[in-house]
């Protein structure tokens, strides 16, 4: 049976890459270890080697194609004794019946493929969810220990080669309470990343999961199921801040400070005032961060990502503003390095620009808090016993109760509000 060659993940965090060129041609016989193609990521060009021996039957994704999702079939290898006829009716990853979808050949000419689209999933229109993508790499011992502990491997991230889950990962997950939390909810936990069973009939289009979508599904399911969330909302008056912003922005063209930049700095400074809230749950301990790194959720094509403004307590507004612009720009181009979006102590999610008045956000594990920012708008307020108008903004803090108790979260918000309402104090 022909062997499907898929886009490899060159690092645990890689979701897609550019298939730079093919080193082997269709019809070439290849031995295990021969270089088939070169893949480019932001960081490096890597060679894809043949794992099996055979003849390169068909190239599914032509050289030069960008943004090829990991696990997308890129070629079909014929085993010894098979000829091209074995390709008839054979579909990469053993998907749907050939009658339902055009034969791969129809799409493989390459010319009319939109370069942005990951070509292969389109063949999979009615196929099963991709098998390889769902496979969880874990050592036999890790599997066994996880099974005995009633722990879902999908909720564990691996530290072994290529993200393989090894014994220590499972042991850490058990120690951090993952096992206990997951066990009673096993039925609910397990299907979560794979989504509920789709309705058997109806008019719908099936959209294959990207790696980012899977990660979002897995991490946020884990967050809502294992983190005891609670929510605190507070209103902040923005008039002073808006005035100051206007004045600062009028002084120079080198920066254009946004309200969000003030929020980033205010969050870091508030955390600095309440260092015990700058922490995360470590299973049998609490880990209190020494730095004040603020993750900022940025919506991008197909999902979201949280670039981190490091040491935001030590940076001025102009620096934060320019850094954030640069990070958000590259985030949207999918060019962030893992170290630029991993880590962080605290997150900010801002939907104010969409006119959302207030909302509560899901904590971004392993962090223990996220601040949801609503829109700044003119609202009637009572000032000195009289009705007045002010620019107001509601923010909601989601806290991990294992780390942050209600009073602690409230103190954190009080300081945050203080900085926002008296922005001059942020300059100290």
């Amino acid at each position: 049976m022909p062997i499907t060659i898929t886009m490899p993940a060159l690092s645990p965090t890689m979701t897609e890459g550019k298939l730079a060129n093919w080193q082997a041609k269709e019809g070439d016989s290849v031995a295990s270890g021969d270089v088939l193609a070169e893949i480019e990521t932001d960081k490096a060009t890597m060679e894809v080697e043949a794992v099996d021996e055979g003849t390169l039957g068909k190239i599914l994704v032509p050289g030069g194609t960008e943004n090829v999702a990991v696990n997308t079939p890129i070629a079909i290898l014929l085993e010894e004794g098979e000829d091209a006829s074995a390709l008839d009716g054979y579909e990469a990853e053993g998907g749907a019946a050939p009658a339902d979808t055009p034969a791969p050949t129809a799409e493989e000419k390459g010319g009319d493929l939109a370069p942005k689209a990951a070509p292969a999933p389109s063949q999979n229109t009615k196929a099963e969810p991709e098998k390889l993508g769902d496979r969880i790499f874990a050592s036999p011992l890790a599997r066994r220990i996880a099974k005995d502990a009633g722990l879902d491997l999908g909720s564990i991230s691996g530290s072994g080669p290529h993200g393989r889950i090894v014994k220590t990962d499972v042991e850490e997950a058990i120690a951090s309470g993952g096992a206990k939390a997951a066990a009673p909810e096993k039925a609910a936990t397990a299907p979560a990343p794979q989504a509920a069973t789709p309705p058997p009939e109806g008019n719908y289009e099936e959209i294959p999961l990207t790696s980012m979508r899977k990660t979002i599904a897995r991490r946020l399911s884990e967050a809502k199921q294992t983190i005891p969330h609670f929510y605190l909302t507070i209103e902040c008056e923005l008039d002073n801040l808006l005035a100051m912003r206007k004045e600062l922005n009028a002084r120079s063209d080198d920066y254009k400070i946004s309200v969000n930049d003030f929020i980033i700095r205010a969050s870091a400074l508030a955390l600095k005032k309440v260092p015990t809230a700058n922490a995360c749950w470590g299973g049998d301990k609490i880990l209190q961060y020494k730095d004040f790194d603020v993750s900022v959720a940025v919506a991008i094509d197909g999902g979201l990502i949280t670039p981190v403004v490091r040491n935001a307590d030590q940076k001025g507004l102009a620096v934060i503003s320019n850094e954030m612009k640069e990070l958000a720009g590259r985030a949207k181009e999918g060019k962030l390095m893992p170290e630029e979006y991993q880590g962080g102590c605290f997150s900010i999610s801002n939907l104010g620009m969409f006119g959302i008045k207030e909302f509560s956000a899901v904590i971004n594990p392993p962090q223990a808090a996220i601040l949801a920012i609503g829109a700044g708008e003119m609202r009637p307020v009572v000032k000195d016993g009289a009705l007045a108008m002010a620019n107001m903004m509601s923010v909601t803090l989601s806290c991990d109760h294992r780390v942050i108790d209600g009073a602690l979260g409230a103190v954190l918000l009080k300081h945050f509000k203080g900085y926002i309402e008296e922005p001059l104090t942020m300059m100290l």
Partner: protein, 468 residues
Amino acid sequence: MSDMNFDLVVVGSGPGGYVAAIRAAQLGMKTAVIEKEHLGGICLNWGCIPTKALLRTADIYTLLKHADEFGIKVKGASVDLKKTVERSRQVAGQLSGGVKHLLKKNKVTVIDGHGKLAGSGKVEVSKDGKVVSTVAAKHIILATGARARTLPGLEPDGKLIWTYKEALVPDVTPKKLLVVGSGAIGIEFASFFNALGSDVTVVEVMDRILPVEDAEISAFAEKAFKKQGMTIHKGTTVSELKKSGNTVTATFKDKKDKTSSDTFDRVILAVGIVGNVENLGLEGTKVKVDRTHVVIDEFSRTGEPGVYAIGDLTGPPWLAHKASHEGVICVEKIAGEKDVHPLNTANIPGCTYCHPQVASVGMTEAAAKEKGYDIKVGRFPFIGNGKAIALGEQEGLIKTIFDAKTGELLGAHMVGAEVTELIQGYGIAKTLETTEIELKQCMNLCLTLMVRSSTCRCKLFRQHMNVC
């Protein structure tokens, strides 16, 4: 002098140092290695490799003595010691040349001389006691290795009382030989000279030989050595070595303080090693030394920023492959490579190339129990293995230790023919975190020595999949 500024300077070119240097060069660092004697260090020149060459002669000679059993008539087989030693030196020389070539190919600068820390980011190179140059490096790896330990009253003289170094280039086959110490080094020399016809006595202070191995394996090996004619005194120390003319009289003291003595032609001291920490410029730095070995963290960092140590210079186990592995991890960490994990000492195999061979990886039965594991032990003697019987080497034992709860392979211990090759299978299994279930499912070729070990597992779990 050409540019003497490097990203990395490695002091010492043994299996730790040269491997670290090559890995660094591969990762794009400008690298130099400083060596005062031989490229390849002790392992290649005065350790593992030349002893393996000598032991090969011993193995062939032993086979020839038993040729008749295999239907081969051999008359007058004898060992030409001079030629045996020459071959061993030639093997070492060839490999040392190979290291030189590898370093050159990877553009590692080789500096001839003794390296010594000389202030932050600097190494002073001296030759014959005179400073010849100073090189600058962002990172410095100390890989100066170790040498034979000497005990007070038991000093080697290089003539009658040898260390490994003299024992590797013997001028005579001692008629009567005393080996002090029964670790891997002592036992390999004992096995070599015993095969060549020496009357060998081994003295060990612990209550069993090969003390780091599983007790059952130690006992099995001891029995085999005694059968070959060795005399073994356990729980015994040598309190005095008295030279007179061409002989040495040794005084032994056992645990009950009872003394006895015997006279030997030669004595080999193999009572452990001490780290080469002297004259490295460690004084005034934050590098800590504990009982002649440099203290390091899991990524080989010493207390001094930019200074690292690997291999025998650091803690046990003192094995060449551990040094190489440590060097690679250290360098990859320096280079900021991703997914660099500390060395897992539980997965380091150890081998002794005596006859029968001894090999092991992971915990002994006693160590596993001490750690509180509930264990399952599998045993299989070679006498039931087809290949071993056909080879005429049915003396052997494989012992496997599993965690009864998780099925984790905790340790594998072997004595017998070719076990130093077989151990690698268990090494891979252990590194991949295999449990007994996968081992059971893994089919061994019928006619291998390994086939016994699936029986070993079958016995353990009462499942029969063995086809041979």
